[in-house]
Symmetry: C2
């Protein structure tokens, strides 16, 4: 049964379900209660399930195991739309493969987010052949195509990524930095948000950044003052250089919750091996031959994962956490940041998160007894529940924290 003490009260409801069978209260009966879905978005990238979803995995059995592990903990997927990889040749986007993957998740009830629509890194090289006006037009058309074309399968987007450094990024020339430097950060944000909003008015649109300094605050305040509607703030949190700890995490939450917007921790990584040296500024600069997962590192990672998720769920502004890769195989920077080893075996962190999500915060199959009026009382995390009595069942949803009175007819 759920952990529902003080710090998670905003995530739970005290439910009273008036249960009926064929119009009569189901009095004094044993029934089975089970949470089928968390309202909180326990997310992970779904990059390495794209082949599985398309039936093109090189190792179908391994991919199926990965998919099973993924769904054992996660309920929310992020899929890659890096322009330079999605459309390396202009006019030949990788639509079908991504659409199939998005539908695979969506059909299983897992909402999908596309990442990202505008970013200066891994952007299309062919933008360099265009003048800035044409780059802007290509960017807008790209957004219209993806956001419109994937609507229904993908209704959430990291619309623009890392705007703080976008116009001053100087590692290499690229079309997006050129454009952003030319028109300015806020007009850039406005342009891409307007295009995304128009292409799918019901989509959830995020601004996403790794910069947790006052710079991102200033950007957000400028964007909001300019009247641009942001649905959620994305905060990256790659911790290759060590777990932030509660104090830093809470300070970040404190500063970025000031805007009254939902917060998504969009990119969380905590490694189970050596920590990257602190002097590295751009994580991409850290290149190592091998970066093994170690027993001590795995024990530490499990503890840190638990502390991090506890801290995030305790803050009422946080609606989503996306872990940046379940499996060490193919992970960004070769880091042992996964919850599952490259050989497919779960690390302690996987088991820890599984227990938190499904047991401490979730409600596994539990036998309860209705009262004389057919009422079932329980406290649980917000989300979807199934009540089963014999071969009849009813689904109920807890949507708001606090007292919830629900009527449910077994069908």
């Amino acid at each position: 049964m759920s952990e529902t003490s003080g710090r998670f009260r905003h995530r739970t409801a005290d439910a009273t379900v008036a249960l009926t069978l064929d119009g009569e209260p189901l009095a004094d009966r044993e029934v089975v209660l089970e949470q089928t879905r968390h309202r909180f978005l326990f997310g992970c990238i779904g990059f390495d399930l794209i082949d599985h979803a398309n039936g093109t995995a090189a190792d179908p059995e391994g991919a199926a195991r990965n998919a099973e592990l993924w769904e054992g903990v996660f309920n929310f997927a992020t899929l890659p739309f890096y322009w330079g990889r999605y459309e390396p040749e202009r006019g030949r986007p990788d639509t079908e493969r991504l659409l199939k993957a998005a539908r695979w998740f969506a059909e299983r009830g897992h909402p999908v987010k596309g990442h990202p629509l505008a970013w200066h890194t891994v952007t299309a090289d062919w933008l360099l052949d265009l003048d800035n006006e044409s780059i802007a037009r290509a960017q807008v058309e790209r957004i219209e195509r993806e956001v419109g074309g994937f609507a229904g399968a993908i209704d959430m987007w990291d619309v623009i990524n890392e705007v703080v450094i976008m116009p001053i990024f100087d590692k290499y020339d690229n079309g997006i930095t050129r454009l952003c430097r030319d028109i300015g950060r806020i007009p850039m944000v406005r342009m891409v948000f307007d295009a995304a909003r128009e292409a799918n008015p019901s989509a959830t649109l995020l601004l996403n950044d790794f910069d947790m300094s006052a710079a991102y605050e200033c950007l957000i305040e400028g964007v909001l003052e300019a009247g641009i509607r942001i649905d959620a703030l994305g905060l990256q949190s790659h911790m290759h250089q060590g777990y932030w700890g509660e104090e830093k995490t809470e300070a970040v939450l404190d500063r970025f919750s000031r805007y009254g917007l939902p917060i998504h921790f969009t990119e969380t990584t905590i490694v189970s091996g050596d920590i990257m040296p602190p002097e590295i500024v751009d994580l991409n600069d850290h290149v190592v031959d091998s970066w093994p997962s170690t027993p001590e590192g795995e024990a530490r990672q499990a503890d840190e994962i638990e502390r991090h998720y506890r801290t995030l769920l305790a803050h009422p502004s946080v609606e989503a956490v996306t872990y940046w890769g379940m499996n060490d195989a193919g992970m960004w920077l070769g880091a042992p940041g996964g919850l599952v080893r490259a050989d497919g075996t779960p690390k302690p962190s996987y088991d820890r998160l599984h227990r938190l999500v499904n047991e401490e915060w979730g409600t596994p199959r539990t036998v309860l007894t209705t009262d004389a009026e057919g009422r079932l009382r329980f406290t649980g995390f917000l989300g979807d529940y199934r009540i089963t009595a014999g071969d009849r069942r009813a689904d109920v949803a807890l949507v708001e924290p606090g007292e919830a009175r629900v009527e449910a007819a077994l069908a």
Copy 2:
């Protein structure tokens, strides 16, 4: 005669003065030309001349020498309006003393800037007794009082200082941080700029910060997108931790000139002693018993001052540089950052800057000869010039770079 080569072309004019005496061209005559004022603002704080201007200096002779040294190089003063010192007791502002000081500078032809009108540091302690609405009202009234009351004597203000960290400043509680955190950075900037603009519509109003990162860019872009008119951008440049060098200075200029606004280097310090360790983040945290000026440090400082001023004057956006203290006595942090030692003797840096301002970039008394049509040709830095022929004289001003054709009647 002026240094007028390529990199300073935007600071100079090629003047042709048609000189007349009693209505006739003054042909083939020797005249004396002298620059009396630079258009470029070679600024310095005037804090330690306040007593001199008020006739209350403890050491009147030393103060007079300081004043003479000051005017030997500088033509633009910054006076202190730190709220906590200016009005430590509510309703008893230090108006008379500051007004007298401002007039002393203004009457000598030196424009004065007040610094700052809104800042979380050294702000009035009594704001802590007020609620945020009352703090806002007190801040606005304070601006109206100072900007309106000093108009004519002070027509330039650092309206707000260090907004980037204002709402997240956590070293101690203060009313301005409380207010800024409550209403947000941009509404705070709008409020203080609106008040200052209304109190003196012809004043030059600056946004000022020490943060040279993308954070300040984001803040500026937000403020400009919000339609708030900024007359000039203030960039602090305290170099207690070492001279920036040309590359960093040029990169900063490149990034902050993107907005098409004049740039003021508002607070420049280059020390002639030990360099503060790089790990210090808030310069105020560096407390030392004594921080002596050394012969090697003074030689280095002179070179760095020259390099710094050359870099700044070479950039067309820069309209002012304010040095943060001519004399080591009473300097911020006890640093040997002055151009003059505590005993009143000039350091090499003073002589270097004096030569640059008055000789290389200025035009000291020079004998020239008019041509057959009474024309005088010379190239000089923008500013005011006096032409003397016997006991008659004419004043001309060079206001725009390039060719300048001026008529001047000796009077």
